[in-house]
């Protein structure tokens, strides 16, 4: 409902009609009992805790949420939910983890998607991350790089000859540990949407095959209706 006005106006030069008066009342009553919407309330109408408690949980926002807690500093075990999992190296987009996704069934609206996770990536081939919705990669959420000229890793610098230069620090080979957040806002129509972060390696290198890992991970989708 938007703003509501009675359909009939009682005029001084007309006989008051009971039918019209009933219609005037009814039009308002129908809307109050279940059809109120954002037009009927002033800004911050329910900001007080006591007022807000009267609102349904899903009156404006739904939170879709999943997470996995896994110690990043223990050995990989793909079968153990509390340990890091392998991310196979791939030049195509692929999921970060088999359960790192959320199915959202919505009546439509804006989705604010936030994926926050801990990864270790191989040093040679770089990595790109993005959000994927129903198989479509959202290009405007893409982060990461495959350009190692601009993104040198001190633990595994690449010199001109293409060999690995173990720099002054650290002195041992370490996968590149990193914290990533991939986020974006998308407007969707009514339907169901499988949302997940994905990874792609721009290049492959035999020294680094399957040395990518994902551990702590969280996916938050704020559905604003």
């Amino acid at each position: 409902m938007s703003w509501k006005f009675g359909p009939f106006t009682v005029s001084t030069r007309e006989v008051a009609d009971i039918e019209s008066i009933n219609e005037d009342f009814l039009s308002v009553v129908e809307e109050v009992t279940g059809e109120l919407n954002e037009h009927n309330f002033v800004e911050n109408a329910f900001s007080a805790e006591t007022d807000r408690a009267k609102l349904a949980d899903n009156v404006g926002i739904r939170l879709h949420h999943m997470y996995r807690t896994a110690d990043p500093n223990v050995a990989v075990d793909d079968a153990d939910p509390v340990k890091p999992h392998t991310i196979p190296v791939s030049t195509s987009w692929r999921p970060l983890d088999s359960t790192y996704e959320k199915l959202v069934v919505t009546n439509g609206g804006d989705l604010w998607i936030l994926a926050s996770f801990q990864v270790k990536t191989g040093a040679v081939y770089g990595a790109l991350f993005a959000l994927e919705i129903n198989g479509t990669v959202m290009g405007d959420t893409l982060v990461g790089t495959g350009d190692i000229d601009n993104d040198q890793l001190e633990s595994l610098d690449i010199v001109a000859s293409g060999t690995v230069d173990f720099g002054a620090l650290p002195s041992v080979w370490l996968p590149n540990a990193g914290a990533m957040v991939v986020e974006g806002v998308v407007t969707v129509s009514p339907g169901s949407y499988l949302i997940r972060p994905v990874i792609r390696n721009p290049r492959l290198h035999s020294n680094d095959v399957d040395k990518q890992e994902i551990s702590n991970q969280e996916l938050i989708i704020v559905e604003m209706r």
Partner: protein, 266 residues
């Protein structure tokens, strides 16, 4: 009487003050006491999202009573006490020894005090969760000089303060927010001190604090127990074991935002 029980006027009713007042009174009561089902699902929509970002009535550091935002300025730390273990609580996970005595004490580094917010839609505050957005800028791997200690990764995490008995106001790590960043050194930076090992990396973390996070703290607290604060922590992790004091780590501007949300958790 929140529901509107409208009695229609009949054809042979007299239009009197009383007969006209009855439906008006009924509507007045209904509008002044709209029930939950008076607003259909999604009724408030994007236009009223601000309404559903819960104000909890405190004065926060930047004077915005709805979003809780804390920003820290540049701080330098000794590469001191190292990361202890996964999910360790309290100050164990926190490294910093503040070198700048004029700066804020470590416990005020990146912290927001909340006025006792109970998380969970049935917990009384109508807050489904606390959406936390934290960014830590790692500025220099080693400040002023070549690295002398063991190679390390910078660790960050988010903690919540919960009142427990007999312990009061204990800080608990949200284990899944532990992040470890390896340095990517900027090769040449004219704007940096020539002796600094500059990294300038952002360590981002996003987290939704929900009632389940209270169930796993030790000693356990009941769901709905108020959360009294949220803070960011840093530490140094030495993957090769052991560490050497002496290097100075510098963090740039850091920011943490806490958004309490009235929502349905799916």
């Amino acid at each position: 009487m929140p529901d509107i029980d409208l009695t229609f006027l009949k054809d042979d009713d007299a239009l009197t003050a009383a007969s006209l007042q009855a439906p008006s009174t009924s509507i007045e009561a209904g509008i002044n006491g709209v029930m939950t089902y008076g607003l259909r699902e999604g009724a408030l929509g994007a236009a009223h999202v601000g309404t559903l970002v819960v104000e909890t009535g405190i004065t926060d550091p930047v004077g915005d009573a709805t979003l809780y935002v804390q920003t820290s300025t540049s701080q330098a730390y000794n590469a001191g006490p190292a990361y202890a273990s996964f999910g360790a609580d309290g100050a164990v996970d926190r490294t910093p020894i503040v070198l700048n005595a004029a700066g804020p004490p470590p416990e005020d580094w990146l912290k927001l005090d909340l006025p006792s917010v109970s998380v969970g839609m049935t917990a009384g505050d109508s807050v489904a969760g606390l959406l936390v957005l934290m960014n830590v800028e790692w500025e220099t791997y080693v400040q002023s000089g070549a690295p002398t200690g063991s190679p390390y990764r910078l660790m960050t995490c988010i903690q919540i303060k919960v009142a427990t008995s007999p312990v009061t106001s204990a800080w608990f790590t949200i284990d899944r927010t532990e992040r470890f960043m390896e340095p990517r050194v900027v090769p040449v930076a004219a704007w940096a001190a020539p002796t600094d090992t500059v990294v300038r990396q952002d360590i981002p973390t996003r987290c939704l604090i929900v009632p389940a996070d209270l169930a796993v703290v030790s000693p356990p607290v009941l769901p709905g127990e108020p959360i009294l604060g949220v803070r960011g922590m840093v530490s140094l992790y030495y993957p090769t074991g052991g560490f050497t004091l002496g290097d100075i780590v510098e963090l740039g501007s850091c920011q943490m935002t806490v958004i309490p949300l009235h929502a349905e958790v799916v």
